[in-house]
């Protein structure tokens, strides 16, 4: 898996997670893997960064302060801004089918149940999603 695009630029990942420990950990392991990473800690910040676009992948937590992850996606779609980032993976802790199916209808590529993953497995999934 290339960690750079055709122009040799590092692939950009946005981590949207309100839990500071997990957010910092995800940032650290993704930086170690050579990705260019950015973060947001609530839905409003996520919306602002996703609106600016240019991410190869967005890891979007569902339960967030200010605006939840699905609301972020709905707002992007309403404003026809849903194609500014290449892929979105939802982060969740319970496999809530209705939420996940709504996410899929809003264009997400898939979801990751956080409690199923250790950091190394998470990186493998992310690399797979970036292929």
């Amino acid at each position: 898996m290339e960690k750079t695009d055709a122009a040799g630029l590092k692939k950009r990942i946005l981590v949207v997670e309100d839990e500071p420990y997990l957010r910092d950990l995800y940032l650290e392991i993704l930086k170690e893997e050579g990705f260019k990473v950015d973060s947001a800690s609530d839905g409003e910040e996520a919306y602002a960064k996703m609106k600016a676009g240019g991410y190869d992948l967005v890891l979007l937590d569902i339960m967030l302060p200010k605006m939840d992850g699905l609301e972020v996606l709905r707002k992007l779609k309403e404003n026809k801004l849903q194609n500014l980032n290449k892929a979105v993976l939802l982060l969740t802790n319970l496999g809530q089918e209705t939420i996940i199916s709504e996410g899929v209808s809003l264009g997400v590529r898939g979801y990751l149940i956080k409690s199923d993953y250790t950091p190394d497995n998470l990186v493998k999934e992310i690399k797979e999603a970036l292929k």
């Binding site: 420990y21 950990l25 319970l94 956080k114 409690s115 250790t118 950091p119």
Partner: protein, 68 residues
């Protein structure tokens, strides 16, 4: 969402932090010369957290089924 689902969600969130912390500690101990007994404590802690995660998930699923 019921209170029970919310509690399960919160609990899973905390357990996920523990799971990740233990993974990072384990990675560190692989790079350093830790006593094998210390590695065993870490392994036991990681296994216990994993069991708890599975139990909370099963509990949450049972609650979902019984409330539907």
């Amino acid at each position: 969402m019921s209170n029970i689902s919310l509690s399960s969600h919160d609990l899973l969130g905390k357990l996920t932090i523990l799971k990740n912390s233990l993974f990072m500690l384990n990675r560190k101990c692989e790079n350093e010369k830790w006593e094998s007994s210390d590695k065993e404590y870490l392994k036991n802690a990681a296994e216990t957290v994993e069991k708890l995660i599975q139990e909370v998930k099963e509990f949450s699923l049972e609650e979902k089924i019984s409330s539907s």
